[in-house]
Symmetry: C2
Subunit: 363 residues, 2 copies
């Protein structure tokens, strides 16, 4: 699968560069059209439940020095990426920026990392190939998985077959930068529980929640990396596993849920690749704060503003979220995942999660 | 080893509580003495090359309501920790704070997490037992290892034997929260290369640096977690491996090196457990910025202040560091690890690191 993607990605890139030749031959000024990446041109697609680009395009054209320089940089970058794929190598966004200093044409060198990052985003959108398939690695890798999943990872040192409970330490299986190098061989899991904090992830593993409930415990580590969202989506799509998201009970954590489920405005072109619209939110719900009398902190002004802005965010425009967010604005309190410990260290695994999973129809 | 530690830790805790009984019997007001944890009472020990506490002590005594409440909280916490060790369970600092809400005596409940964190530090210092041996887990776990090391991890699901190249994916072996659950079975490594950033860690692994140079590549992930520093120290002490630290070339990264090598003021009581004074700094050195004409950013005012304060930090009072820091203040520039990519993606593994390791006498 990986080799096919690479071949595809390489062809898409070469096609892009070939367009410029065609344009030259037709006597046209070379140009490239890219969807406008501003908030006005991003729409929430009701059908697929994710963010997508609208119809507006902007054109990079060689009819100005500035535009010509942009295309020159694009061509150099395409050349670098095509070579990288050919040699089965990879690099980070930051390396690409620094590497451009070694290019023979000074006009093609990037003046800031924002510029090279944004060009890679352009190329992702125009070619329909993801950064991972260009072999551009993120700076920081994904998080970990613990649960009854047996997988094969294609590494550059050969294949590794790993069971994510039996062949790993307590730290779990470390998700690689590009999870598309993974094949799922066997899975006894009934659902995925994606968890925001390391403290809670460790609690669930210590309490044997993954074993008792056949759960894949995926650590989100705060705002999840692309690799973590991608493998979550693949586990859902390929193995038909329900995805549940377990975070702190505050507006920033609801955004973590939102990015797993619906993607983000910043990466609207990747929604199809990264978002799992079927993902369900387990909690901490504002209703839980009331029901279980959890220890709380007061909402700050920025918490309140974030909640207000979620009320007008299309991703949160459901009866469920409106009710929960309005309740939270009313009680003016927030609670962390780990505050469930106020009812004992086993409450989360013996009572809270089983009850919520049952309510949600997951178990 | 782990079971012995637990037994020891439990006895130390019970001894602490028993002291209060002894004091009652002698007609003394119960009290506990703790080294004062202020900057004035922390000394750099020239002999062992780490930070240690001085002779000043402060006393928590039940001769005031405030003091009595502190001791009450200590006793409840000791009781909780002793039970936890007895049942072979563990918890996080945050869970302890929340859990205190379930204690029957309201006076014993913590009013803030700072209070419970600081009590655990007191108990670590007074008992001479580390937090890990109380089974208090950190919120976030350590980072990863890749290299020719075969180890056995005692997990609560049984033993796992893992080779940190052959049995792991590209993400490497995830260091558990308490690396003292690990036994080193076999090691073909010649040295440790501890690396600050994920981008560089991935570059080294992609280029096969661990294989070619028999290196254990330990990812520090910025300021390293206790677990990462602990396993680095154990690898050094038990397997006699030289430790080299590879970071960005700026004052904040020199502090990362400092915390691996000499510990920090905040955790002076743990220096013996966490610090590796023999660790050597590879770079990026200010001299490298000049020699290799690396891409740079200008020093900010806070960078300059941090460098100045390092000049007066006993950890950096060597000819080497004075020369490097003064050079950096002169050129007013800093460079990242990944800026080595300006000389090509293989420069770091083919040229830079081998030359530095040779200069340093490591290879």
């Amino acid at each position: 699968m990986s080799a096919d993607n690479e071949q595809d990605a390489r062809e898409q890139l070469i096609d892009l560069a070939a367009q410029f030749y065609d344009q030259f031959e037709l006597g046209e000024i070379p140009h490239m059209s890219v969807p406008t990446r501003t908030k006005n041109n991003i729409e929430y697609d009701e059908e697929s439940n994710v963010w997508v680009y609208g119809d507006r395009e902007s054109t990079r054209s060689a009819n100005s020095v500035r535009g010509a320089r942009k295309l020159l940089k694009a061509v150099y970058t395409i050349d670098f990426l095509a070579d990288q794929l050919d040699e089965d190598r990879s690099s980070t966004l930051r390396e690409l920026y620094y590497l451009s200093e070694s290019w023979d044409n000074e006009e093609a060198q990037f003046t800031s990392q924002d510029e090279s990052n944004s060009l890679i985003e352009d190329l992702e959108i125009v070619s329909g190939v993801t950064r991972e398939d260009f072999h551009m690695r993120p700076e920081e890798s994904g998080a970990t998985i613990m649960g009854p999943l047996y997988l094969r990872e294609q590494t550059r040192r050969g294949e590794r077959e790993i069971h994510c409970q039996e062949d790993v330490g307590e730290g779990g299986y470390q998700i690689p930068n590009n999870p598309d190098t993974i094949d799922f061989l066997d899975c006894d899991a009934d659902f995925i529980l994606a968890v925001e904090t390391g403290g809670m992830r460790d609690r669930l593993v210590e309490n044997g929640f993954d074993e008792e409930y056949n759960a894949l415990v995926v650590h989100l580590k705060g705002q999840p990396a692309r690799a973590t969202r991608r493998i979550t989506k693949r586990l859902h799509d390929e193995l038909d596993l329900p995805v549940t998201v377990f975070t702190d009970g505050d507006p920033w954590s609801y955004r973590i849920y939102g990015s797993v489920a619906y993607g983000s405005i910043k990466s609207a072109h990747l929604s199809e690749y990264l978002a799992t619209p079927e993902a369900q939110f387990i909690g901490i719900q504002p209703a839980d704060i009331v029901e279980y009398e959890l220890p709380t902190d007061p909402l700050s002004d920025s918490d309140k503003n974030a909640l207000e802005s979620e009320l007008s965010d299309p991703r949160f425009q459901t009866d469920y979220w409106e009710e929960q967010i309005e309740l939270q604005l009313e009680i003016e309190k927030k609670s962390e995942q780990q505050s469930l410990a106020s009812r004992g260290l086993d409450f989360v695994t013996d009572t809270y999660l089983p009850e919520r999973l049952d309510e949600m129809g997951v178990i």
